[in-house]
């Protein structure tokens, strides 16, 4: 058996080498398919690790309260497209009470919109983030110049603005910004600070925002509710208890008697849940794309079938001879199957090498762009690529090989 295998591999090599161009083209299908699977899986893991590490950097001791009612089965249920107006500034203030929420460190409320900022002849449109003075206590962040606003300014509806670094650059260029007056949506603001560059954190560009006191923002937008509330607690272990405390307070404040949560007009989420959710979403996306890429392997497989038919036809006399010399049907079947698997396996290995190389260059590129991108090639995706590609060889090579094995020796010997 082993002898036949060695012989088959030898025969396969000679036959592949004698049809170099066909073999190469056939393999190309497999190479591209396998490389795409590897690259997609790797990019997927990279993006995933990037998002997850950003969330982890923020800390896993964060709780978010968002307005509206949702259930755990369908995290997007609340995104119906309308603004939910059930959370207020006073809710946020109430959650700061150490008596009611013992593990709380800081609470920040947010009310967000868009703003067009003007300074002299420069204008720049960006996100306008109305928040509490406690924003930095909850989400972190450093000031590059000046200072963040304080709670006094927050309560006095002061028109003070802290700029994200990109906003500063766009408006002021080389000029000084702190101490200048700018217009935001036609209201005049004093620039009191500039945030240190921070980049994108969970799909939100912190450098491309203007932070203003939340009450000022509410007045400008003509609303009396807040978009969401973020709570920082002592540590991750305190999250479940704190969530319960938060729910109890908000139900009381919103006159909700149903303790089961069925009537809640708010949702409490924590970072761990967000981590799970993002992992789930990116995972399914990753596998979906990988399956799409694997489909190209089927196309490659049809190429394999084609070249195997050519190979069988070209070697009809050889099959006849081998049978005359005592080869049984399974010897012939095995020989051609080994050949088909051999082509796809080599294609698969080349595909893996290309896939890994491309993934590696993508990683380097991402690092050059300043992303904390991990180079991840999972053993699973390599094994998968190898198994799938040789499976393709086996599947698509079987029919031609089977036909070869059934050849009548005399007819085959007489074949011209």
């Amino acid at each position: 058996m082993f002898k036949t295998l060695i012989q088959s591999v030898k025969i396969a090599t000679t036959s592949l080498l004698s049809n170099k161009i066909q073999s190469f083209l056939t393999m190309l299908g497999i190479v591209i398919g396998v490389a795409s699977v590897i690259v997609i899986m790797s990019i997927g893991s990279g993006v995933q690790s990037l998002i997850l590490s950003e969330i982890k950097n923020l800390g896993t001791n964060l709780i978010a309260v968002i307005p509206g009612h949702g259930d755990d089965e369908d995290p997007f249920a609340s995104m119906g497209g309308f603004a939910v107006t059930t959370l207020t500034y006073d809710d946020a203030v109430a959650l700061r009470n150490k008596q009611d929420v013992p593990n709380v460190i800081a609470v920040a409320a947010y009310s967000r919109g868009f703003g067009t900022a003007e300074w002299k002849s420069e204008t720049y449109s960006t996100s306008l983030t109305g928040t509490t003075a406690s924003h930095i206590d909850v989400m972190g962040g450093e000031l590059k110049e000046g200072r963040f606003f304080n709670s006094e300014e927050e309560n006095r509806f002061s028109r003070v603005a802290v700029l994200g670094n990109d906003v500063r650059d766009e408006l002021f260029g080389q000029s000084d910004s702190v101490g200048q007056k700018i217009k935001v949506n036609d209201y005049t603001f004093d620039v009191i600070g500039v945030m240190e560059e921070r980049g994108v954190v969970i799909m939100e560009d912190y450098d491309d925002q203007i932070f203003i006191p939340i009450k000022t923002a509410q007045r400008m937008m003509g609303v009396n509710y807040v978009g969401f509330i973020r709570i920082k607690v002592n540590s991750e272990e305190d999250i479940p208890q704190t969530e319960e405390d938060v729910k109890a307070i908000l139900r009381e404040r919103h006159n909700i008697n149903d303790r089961s949560g069925g009537k809640d007009d708010f949702m409490v989420k924590n970072t761990a849940e967000a981590l799970d959710m993002i992992t789930e979403i990116t995972d399914s996306l990753r596998y979906f794309l990988a399956i799409m890429a694997a489909m190209s392997l089927v196309v490659g497989g049809i190429g394999i079938m084609n070249i195997m038919f050519i190979s069988v036809t070209e070697r009809t006399r050889e099959v006849g001879l081998r049978k005359a010399l005592g080869a049984k049907n399974f010897h012939v079947l095995g020989q051609f199957l080994v050949e088909a698997i051999f082509v796809t396996l080599i294609g698969g290995i080349i595909g893996i090498i290309f896939g890994v190389a491309i993934s590696f260059f993508i990683t380097i590129g991402a690092h050059l762009l300043g992303y904390e991108w991990d180079f991840i090639i999972s053993l699973g995706s390599v094994v998968l690529a190898l198994v799938v590609s040789s499976g393709v060889g086996l599947f698509f090579g079987f029919y031609p090989a089977f036909k070869a094995s059934k050849l009548n020796p005399i007819k085959a010997l007489r074949y011209e």
Binding site: T4, R322, L325, G326, A327, K328, N329
Partner: protein
């Protein structure tokens, strides 16, 4: 026990028209014989040889090979029997391309259960046909006569009970043909059974017995009275 025993052997082909390629043929061949089958083109020589060589099945009649009723064997058993008991030499050589002389001769051993040293055995038989100096040559690097000697070596490598040769000299010049016949005679002297298909009287007379066929029937079965001993030097002149 006879090596080959056929009784009322028939072979008909049926694709569109019915061809009676072999009609009611009966004869016996013993171990150690050297038989030439002669006859005009289309008389059924190859058809008969394919059945005797277990490559094809008869449509009727009885064929006992080495004591076994061949009609009772399945395709895989026939393949094993071909591998162990039968050697073929074809008119068109039928060697594997892009393969060395040595590997061509080893080929039958790949399909055999014999636990012998394949390489050593192949070298032995190649030496016996005078090709020791060509072991690692590829088949496109040797002459027609040498190719046919490789084919003979391949037929010998599994110590077959019988060697079938269908027009082995048909594609060769007279000198190379004579060399082949000389080797076949020597093999027969060593005890090998040889069955040869030819339409040349000269070649047939190298055998010990001649079966003559016409229109699918055996028309004569005679011993060769003046057996020709091949002398290669004679042929060259």
């Amino acid at each position: 026990m006879s090596l080959i025993e056929v009784k009322n052997l028939k072979r008909t082909f049926e694709d569109g028209v019915k061809t009676y390629a072999l009609k009611d043929t009966s004869f016996v061949i013993e171990k150690g014989e050297f038989v030439a089958i002669m006859g005009p083109s289309g008389s059924g020589k190859s058809t008969l040889m394919h059945i005797l060589g277990l490559l094809d099945r008869a449509s009727g009649g009885k064929f006992i090979f080495n004591g076994k009723d061949v009609s009772k064997l399945d395709d895989n058993e026939l393949a094993s029997l071909r591998n162990e008991e039968i050697g073929f030499v074809f008119q068109s050589f039928n060697l594997l391309q892009r393969t060395t002389v040595l590997d061509n001769v080893i080929l039958p051993l790949i399909y055999s259960d014999n636990k012998i040293n394949a390489k050593k055995r192949a070298e032995e038989v190649l030496e016996s046909v005078g090709l020791s100096h060509r072991l690692d040559h590829y088949t496109n690097q040797i002459s027609g006569g040498e190719k046919q000697r490789v084919a003979i070596a391949r037929a010998l490598v599994n110590k077959a009970s019988v060697i079938f040769a269908d027009e082995p000299t048909g594609n060769l010049d007279s000198k190379s043909g004579a060399q082949i016949m000389k080797i076949l005679q020597r093999l027969n002297d060593d005890g090998n059974t040889i069955i040869l298909v030819t339409h040349e009287t000269y070649t047939a007379e190298c055998a010990k017995r001649i079966l003559k066929m016409k229109d699918g029937e055996l028309v004569s079965d005679e011993k060769v009275v003046n057996r020709r001993k091949v002398n290669v030097e004679d042929v060259i002149k």
